[in-house]
Symmetry: C2
Subunit: 159 residues, 2 copies
Amino acid sequence: MSENFFEKRKSIQQIEESEDLAPKFDKDGLIPVVTTDFKSGEVLMQGYMNKDSFIKTITLGEAVYYSRSRKTLWHKGKTSGFIQKIKEILIDDDQDCVWLKVEVVGGASCHVGYRSCFYRRIPLGKSETNSKIILKFTEKEKVFNPKKIYGNTENPTKL
Amino acid sequence: MSENFFEKRKSIQQIEESEDLAPKFDKDGLIPVVTTDFKSGEVLMQGYMNKDSFIKTITLGEAVYYSRSRKTLWHKGKTSGFIQKIKEILIDDDQDCVWLKVEVVGGASCHVGYRSCFYRRIPLGKSETNSKIILKFTEKEKVFNPKKIYGNTENPTKL
């Protein structure tokens, strides 16, 4: 099915300048996905899709990723309720990255409990020989309590 | 040098909830980077950094990526003049993705000539058995002429 859904990559001209959807999946069969909040523009998360999850995302209108830790399709929000409704999907010049603009039901996208996964800032201008970098938290309060939502589900963060 | 710059990944708690910068580089030594326009919030591009380019980005305050096609550090804008000045750097929950908010000197980030690399929209709701997907161009005019800027430099887009 997925072979008919996407076009074959034939030329640089086709990939960059045509109306063909000819995405490039990496050696693991994945394409990176950047997900932003449709209204605020904030980057909520970065994930991956395989061919099947990409097709499901387009046809369903909700974000379906591929979970590299669980090695399975991951319909975002199915456990937590925080479904990402797709407002717009864009693809980049060489078609090896996808941008999803979404509206998040419930307002949270991060399994740690914050609105965005990007809740810490790296200070700029540190010298290479300076002392330790101290991250600054940009979100003060969690939107939800992960223990209540996920219970004993395994944490997706890996060492 | 890079060993002292970043913290070792010790625990889920440290990675998710502490002020330690303990990024995860993949098996190729890379971490994905999402780059947005500081003012408009638009996603301009998605790239990769290795340890050295990550350190250079933080210390220099300009985006330095790792080019997977050229297998070398890539100080964005050195050829084209479209330097990305870093306004803010954020890292995600499990510290395996970086978000750069930048101001682009000259206003273009895409080697094809557009402002953003994401200049085509994928139409939503296509049925899996339907006819071909037709991408829609969201940018009408190029910001620059790639042939004038890059000359005969090899195109980074690969089949």
